[in-house]
């Protein structure tokens, strides 16, 4: 077996051994708070076993391995439904950015270690009521206040802010220059006076995202993680950090096998649905799509192993997988007819069709909507022109509302 094969086999065995304590059965019936507490214990177990911060520097508490080991572990971990969702954003973006751009190295090290062990959670305060895709159009402002800064405004769609200890934030420090030139990047203490977090209940019934209000929140200048006016570049760096993540050709919905099983159980016109041409066509098309993504991802892993940069086709994963998950979930409900009405809002979108269906729109919007992803493919990969942007080059405070 190759070194990587051995690594993955060990990771698989470890994940397997965690199932009794942290698997789906152990999580069943827990409140969110109880599940989070279990999640913190799971994250600590991961850290102790050497599976936290796999590709992070050793001197900051990581394992010093490569992206390839990280996604190998994640590929195994993903199979079991462990309570790791609370740490995904935290360890995915804000903490790596802190490692890269945080100025006080002792502070950075302390935070990284606590985050890796599940003791502290970080959130990312980017989107605002006025826009998400148009990040540089944000309105939350920071004004100088003595030697520090004072933040006023509102963020929204902030995942896990209600459980977060810290957050990274992009704010406007100069409204008189073009929109992306007047931004600055900071970290904030989510417990600071003036920070108010209000959970938003989503369509599926859960509340993992929040509105976050800032009313005269005072921070010192050592919270700054970019040059004044240089925040947009750091924000882009944040979004680039997670280029190499384990992907799921099921679009984080149920595996196609579950659909095939359902089609074998259910009858249409007195015959098993699996014999119905309409159902067969959907299964075949879905399989071909997922197999294509799997092959793209396998090739990306091989390229990483060979020290090459994977091609841009990896950007198709979310676009293609999530919208087809949405359609397949609708079809799975169709197959069950009135039997599909029974709804458990705590069920997992990975193995429950109704949960997958009702939460699918979030997947098509969060982290870059379908339309934004298509624009990115068209512009960055194919070299097509940018859309017409009437606010281009105009000082922020002169952009027509």
């Amino acid at each position: 077996m190759t070194d990587l094969g051995t690594y993955r086999a060990k990771a698989a065995a470890w994940c397997e051994s965690m199932v009794p304590a942290f698997g789906k059965a152990a999580r069943k019936g827990l409140s969110v708070e109880e599940d989070l507490a279990l999640g913190r214990r799971y994250q600590k177990a991961k850290f102790d076993a050497g599976y936290a911060g796999i590709n992070w520097p050793i001197d900051l508490g990581g394992q010093g391995l490569g992206h390839i080991e990280k996604i190998s572990f994640e590929g195994e971990e993903m199979k079991h439904g462990f309570p790791n969702v609370y740490f995904g954003i935290s360890l995915g973006m804000p903490v790596p950015v802190l490692m890269q751009f945080g100025s006080d190295r002792e502070f950075v090290k302390e935070r990284v270690l606590k985050a890796l062990q599940g003791e502290e959670i970080w959130c990312q305060l980017f989107s605002e009521p006025s826009g998400g895709t148009d990040l540089a159009g944000l309105r939350t402002r920071a004004e100088t206040d003595g030697n520090g800064w004072k933040i006023n405004g509102q963020k929204v769609w902030t995942s896990w802010a209600q459980y977060s200890d810290y957050g990274v934030i992009v704010v406007r420090t100069d409204p008189t220059v073009a929109k992306h030139k007047g931004l600055t990047y900071f970290w904030v203490d989510m417990r600071a006076p003036g920070v108010t977090v209000r959970p938003i209940k989503l369509a599926g019934g859960d509340s993992h995202v929040n509105e976050v209000f800032f009313d005269d929140v005072k921070i010192s200048d050592d919270h700054r993680m970019s040059p004044v006016g240089g925040g947009f570049a750091v924000a882009l760096a944040t979004l680039m950090i997670e280029r190499y993540v384990a992907t799921d050709s099921a679009g984080f919905g149920p595996h196609l096998d579950l659909f095939v099983e359902l089609a074998k159980e259910v009858k249409l016109n007195g015959r098993p649905a699996i014999e119905d041409g309409r159902i067969r066509q959907q299964i075949a098309r879905n399989h071909a799509m997922r197999a294509g993504l799997d092959s793209i991802n396998r090739r990306a892993r091989l390229m990483m192993q060979a020290g090459m940069t994977p091609g841009p086709e990896g950007s198709l994963n979310k676009l293609v997988a999530v919208r087809s998950r949405q359609k397949l979930s609708e079809l799975a409900l169709d197959l069950q007819g009135t039997g599909a009405f029974l709804f458990d809002e705590h069920a997992s979108p990975k193995d429950d069709w109704a949960s997958s269906w009702i939460n699918a729109p979030t997947g098509r919007i969060a982290g870059g909507s379908d339309e934004t992803l298509l624009n990115t493919i068209a512009e960055r990969i194919l070299g097509l022109p940018q859309d017409h942007r009437p606010d281009k080059g105009i000082p922020f405070n002169q952009i027509p509302a």
């Binding site: 075949a284 090739r299 298509l374």
Partner: protein, 364 residues
């Protein structure tokens, strides 16, 4: 076999592209559409000179001992430039049938000619909508075949056909010597495919496989050809995506390139998705040749590639507007070819069923 091309394989891609682009042009291909019974001789000569006919065949009989991955790379380039004849795929399928299921004597007799390209092979399995008929209407009796094989690509010029026939009610995979067999040319929408009905009247035939195994063998040959074709379809789709992109960058309307309108740029970005999924599935399938899951991988490759090429043909013409439907611009060459390749080697309906039967397991 890895799904990551090595340097040698990348060189095959580059060299075949250069060779085909130097030899085949739209201006050569357009007139062929209106003549029945002619193929692009320059294309086929290039294929023989470059050794593509020998590429994926055994060294023991004049081949180069490479595989489906390498042949796929050539087919991809042939798809980009619209290959001028169907023989690269049809002769490969015929040769693989003999290589995998033939006797030493049959191999010695047929393979060197197929490898050099002097002998042209064709596959005669399909009867209209049925790519692998359970009861083939062509009958084998005492080493001779009677009956008609309908719509055989390359049939006008083939020297031998691998046919699925019946003998005493049981299927047989056979080599049919086409010497003296009457061929009725099919005047098609893609005439360089040299499609013909083969009117068998006592043609000499040799048995390769009999009984249920004959059908399984025929499916395997069809899958091998489907993977080559999937690369060709992906190449065609990729070329169309690039043509659409280039046009959208130069054509202006309302004071800007039409590629700045999301209705256009998103359509082209979607084509990128179809092309990359098709490419990934085609590479994967080629790398699975000879493995247990080969048929499943071939079916997925076939479905993605047909969808990619059909969609690209449709959308590329649409993005061009009026100029796209003119004879001269030649996008209809791709429209025609995308449908031809969708019908050769079994339609999407066929491969959907093959795939779902395997995914659902026994009893489905």
């Amino acid at each position: 076999m890895s799904i990551l091309y090595d340097e040698g394989q990348q060189a095959i891609a580059t060299e075949s592209r250069r060779a085909i682009e130097a030899r085949v042009s739209k201006d050569d291909l357009l007139p062929l559409l209106q003549i029945s019974g002619k193929y692009h001789e320059g294309f086929w000569a290039t294929a023989k000179e470059q050794g593509w006919t020998a590429l994926a065949l055994s060294e023991d009989y004049g081949g180069l001992d490479l595989g489906l991955v390498e042949l796929g790379l050539i087919a991809h380039q042939a798809g980009r430039s619209l290959s001028g004849a169907p023989f690269l795929t049809s002769s490969f399928g015929a040769a693989k049938a003999i290589e995998l299921y033939g006797s030493d004597e049959q191999k010695t007799r047929w393979l060197p000619g197929l490898a050099s390209g002097e002998t042209i092979g064709a596959i005669a399995f399909a009867q209209g909508p049925d790519p692998l008929p359970a009861a083939p209407p062509v009958r084998l009796n005492a080493g001779q075949v009677e009956g008609t094989a309908v719509g055989v690509s390359g049939g006008l010029f083939a020297d031998i056909a691998i046919a699925l026939v019946s003998e005493g009610g049981s299927p047989v995979l056979a080599i049919v010597d086409l010497t003296g067999t009457e061929r009725k040319a099919v005047d098609s929408f893609d005439n360089s495919r040299c499609i013909a009905d083969l009117l068998f009247a006592g043609a000499q035939a040799e048995t390769l496989v009999t009984g249920d195994a004959a059908r399984a063998a025929a499916l395997n040959i069809l899958a091998l050809q489907a993977v080559v074709t999937a690369h060709e379809q992906t190449g065609g789709a990729e070329a169309l995506m690039e043509i659409a992109r280039d046009y959208a960058l130069t054509r202006k309307a309302f004071g800007q390139p039409i590629g700045a309108f999301q209705s256009i740029k998103h359509r082209i970005a979607e084509l990128y998705g179809f092309v990359e999924l098709a490419r990934a599935n085609a590479i994967h399938a080629a790398a699975r040749e000879g493995q247990d899951d080969f048929i499943t991988a071939a079916a997925a490759a076939r479905l993605s590639a047909t969808e990619a090429y059909d969609t690209a043909a449709r959308d590329c013409v649409q993005i061009h507007g009026g100029i796209g439907v003119t004879w001269e611009i030649g996008l209809h060459l791709h429209m025609r070819r995308s449908r031809t390749l969708a019908l050769e080697q079994g339609s999407s309906f066929f491969w959907e069923d093959i795939l779902v039967d395997r995914l659902a397991g026994a009893g489905a």
